[in-house]
């Protein structure tokens, strides 16, 4: 799998937002939401993108989907550089790249029935131009997402959170995509429902050969679903490797702290665990620390960490981390 051409290649992706400086704003400032992110995803695999709020994981996903225009850097999807496409070409490529959002309620039009929501992209993109065939296709998609055909007549407010997320999944599937960006797809759901949706995503991946970029903050869920995992902090990738390596042998001090902070649902295990509680808070991306962005909170930082920006480099075969202390 690793020798073939990746389905998605992100190289030195940068997204800066200008804030302030407007009519009412104070002095202009730059939020470095994504600051030089690179990774590849192979066809059929799931890359987990984890990090805390404001680390740039969602913006990275939005830049890939071209919902945001990157400041610089390359996004190459199925061999084509997204920045060089015309609007018409971009529409064609977008079909192949879909998204599932965190909040299934605000991402579904409340005035449309479930059937209309799923049928709309089929009509707009002329995937199924015939009306009767479209209705049949909607039924088929609902079934794939684990919903009853009768659901097509319902409105989003009549559905539970888990059912709404299934509608969001059916809508994404309607486009016959090869890559789906899943942006926190289960964080708004109750735990008993989360597992249903995760199982569904895995079944669909196997059935349709889908590739996922799975953006989430829950490290246990990411471990379950991902083949490889990238850990982000303040706009940068701190560590990236396969699932097993990351969870069994984390290298970066930030990854270690993150894993230690996740409570395990078993008091007997918890009692014997060492808890590394990180001091301080995530600094503002408006004014990120110099050198390594993690140094103010890092338990092993030395003087050089304040000046040297660590490169993401191979620590072990297939295991990259950005830390000068390794």
């Amino acid at each position: 799998m690793s020798t073939s051409e990746p389905i998605l290649r992100v190289a030195n992706l940068v997204k800066h937002f200008q804030v302030g400086g407007g009519l009412f704003g104070g002095p202009a400032a730059t939020v470095k939401a994504v600051d030089g992110v690179s990774f590849e995803i192979q066809r059929g695999e799931t890359l987990g993108l984890v990090g805390e709020s404001g680390c740039g994981k969602t913006t990275t996903g939005r830049c890939i989907l071209r919902l945001e225009t990157p400041t610089s850097g390359e996004v190459v999807f199925e061999g084509r550089d997204m920045a060089k496409l015309s609007d018409a070409e971009l529409r064609g490529v977008r079909r192949r790249m879909q998204v599932i959002f965190q909040d299934p309620y605000s991402s579904l039009n409340p005035r449309m029935t479930v059937g209309q929501i799923i049928a709309e992209p089929l009509a707009v993109h002329r995937i199924v131009p015939d009306r009767a065939a479209r209705a049949a296709r909607v039924q088929d998609l609902l079934r794939h997402a684990g919903l009853l055909p009768a659901m097509a007549r319902r409105y989003p407010h009549e559905l539970s959170g888990g059912q709404r997320q299934r509608v969001g999944i059916a809508r994404a599937l309607a486009m016959e995509p090869s890559l789906i960006v899943c942006d926190e797809p289960v964080s708004a759901l109750d735990v008993s429902i989360q597992a249903q949706i995760i199982n569904l995503l895995e079944e669909l991946q196997a059935e349709f050969g889908l590739t996922y970029l799975f953006v989430a903050h829950d490290l246990s869920v990411v471990r379950h679903i991902s083949d490889r995992v990238a850990v982000m902090y303040l706009g940068k990738v701190m560590e990236i490797t396969d699932r097993k390596s990351l969870y069994q042998d984390p290298q970066h001090p930030y990854t270690k702290a993150l894993l230690s902070a996740v409570p395990i649902p078993d008091p007997a295990v918890e009692a014997g665990r060492e808890h590394v509680v990180l001091g301080g808070e995530v600094p503002s991306p408006l004014n990120p620390p110099s050198g390594c962005v993690f140094h103010p909170r890092c338990p092993i930082a030395v003087a050089e960490c304040r000046t040297i920006v660590p490169e993401l480099r191979e620590i072990k075969p297939g295991h990259q981390a950005a830390c000068i202390r390794l």
């Binding site: 109750d190 735990v191 989360q194 902070a261 996740v262 409570p263 649902p265 990180l278 808070e281």
Partner: protein, 334 residues
């Protein structure tokens, strides 16, 4: 240990156009001095309404406490006048909510919000209350308190705001703090900081904590005893160790099995609980969990199981609680 808060047969109902929603439907639980008790369950199970009922903050006229007793330090809180109840809220029972931004007043400095509590309840003078506010901020790990007291909530990060909420809850040295999802809105490294802070402060100050959460990991790390709620009722209660090692209600078992765990080998598939929580205005007869239960027998659908002892202080509301560990679940479609 001495019982501090004793909730008995509490029923809180909401009258809506869709019918009567029995959010809390006859639950009994207690909190002993200095311990941390968790109330666990998913959205809509009635855990937050239970806490609001204790504080008598259920929104009228739709919501009403229709039955029960809430014993606190020898008094029934439900029998107090509104004036007497105000003396309890914030003074004897502190409260920490999920969203610190929406529970703090955005147009008042945090200094004013902290001093108001102690001036109202403890009759402190302005200079006394100012000193107390600075002391409280340093207690919850906010340095440079004198300067920060002049700032407004929006000038603090989410984690810092939650520290301020904790400072407010502890301002009058309450014997009990009700914490409703105190770390749900926070990042995992900040969640760890806040929970460690609450744990160490409750030990130092001897305050008991009633923690309301959906996060089984948080419960495992911090709670002494656990109550599991489903559809307005408590379905299982035991010490934290016992409930995780030896769950005796299929819902608890389902919750524990449905979450992936970092300390265990990765499973190829998760085991979700099928279906979804019931509509509280249209509960099925018998056990509310029966439609989703892999162990359900005919009796479950006809007769509601009472919360009854399994061993010692371990209670379960399931007809099959005693034989549960030996049963094989029926295969269910997911």
């Amino acid at each position: 240990m001495e019982v501090l808060l004793d909730v008995r047969r509490l029923r809180t109902h909401f009258h809506t156009s869709a019918g009567v929603i029995r959010a809390v439907d006859g639950v009994s639980w207690d909190v002993r001095k200095g311990e941390t008790v968790a109330l666990v369950g998913e959205s809509g199970c009635g855990k937050s309404v239970s806490a609001l009922s204790v504080m008598r903050l259920v929104s009228a006229p739709a919501g009403r406490i229709v039955d029960g007793e809430i014993g606190f330090k020898g008094r029934n809180l439900l029998a107090l006048t509104e004036e007497e109840m105000r003396q309890v809220r914030g003074r004897e029972i502190g409260m920490v909510f999920q969203e610190p931004m929406t529970s703090l007043n955005p147009v008042l400095t945090i200094g004013r919000q902290l001093t108001e509590t102690v001036e109202t309840h403890l009759g402190m003078t302005a200079s006394q209350s100012h000193a107390r506010a600075v002391e409280l901020l340093s207690l919850v790990g906010i340095p440079d308190g004198a300067r920060r007291l002049r700032q407004f909530p929006h000038q603090f990060s989410g984690g810092m705001r939650q520290r301020i909420m904790i400072a407010m809850a502890l301002a009058c040295n309450p014997s009990l703090v009700l914490a409703d999802e105190p770390t749900t809105a926070l990042d995992v490294t900040i969640q760890a900081q806040i929970l460690e802070l609450m744990k160490s402060l409750s030990r130092r100050l001897g305050a008991a904590i009633m923690m309301i959460t959906h996060n089984l990991g948080v419960v495992a790390r911090y709670a002494d005893r656990v109550n599991v709620m489903y559809a307005g009722k408590i379905v299982e209660r035991a010490t934290a160790r016992e409930i995780y090692a030896n769950p005796r209600h299929p819902y608890t078992l389902g919750l524990l099995r449905s979450v992936p765990r970092l300390d265990e080998p990765r499973r190829s598939r998760l085991q979700p609980i099928p279906g979804q929580p019931p509509d509280l205005s249209r509960l099925p007869g018998g056990c509310s969990f029966a439609p989703r239960c892999a162990y359900a027998i005919d009796r479950c659908r006809e007769e509601e199981p009472p919360l009854a002892p399994v061993v010692g202080e371990h209670l379960s509301a399931c007809w099959l609680a005693n034989e549960l560990p030996t049963l094989t679940p029926a295969p269910v479609a997911t």
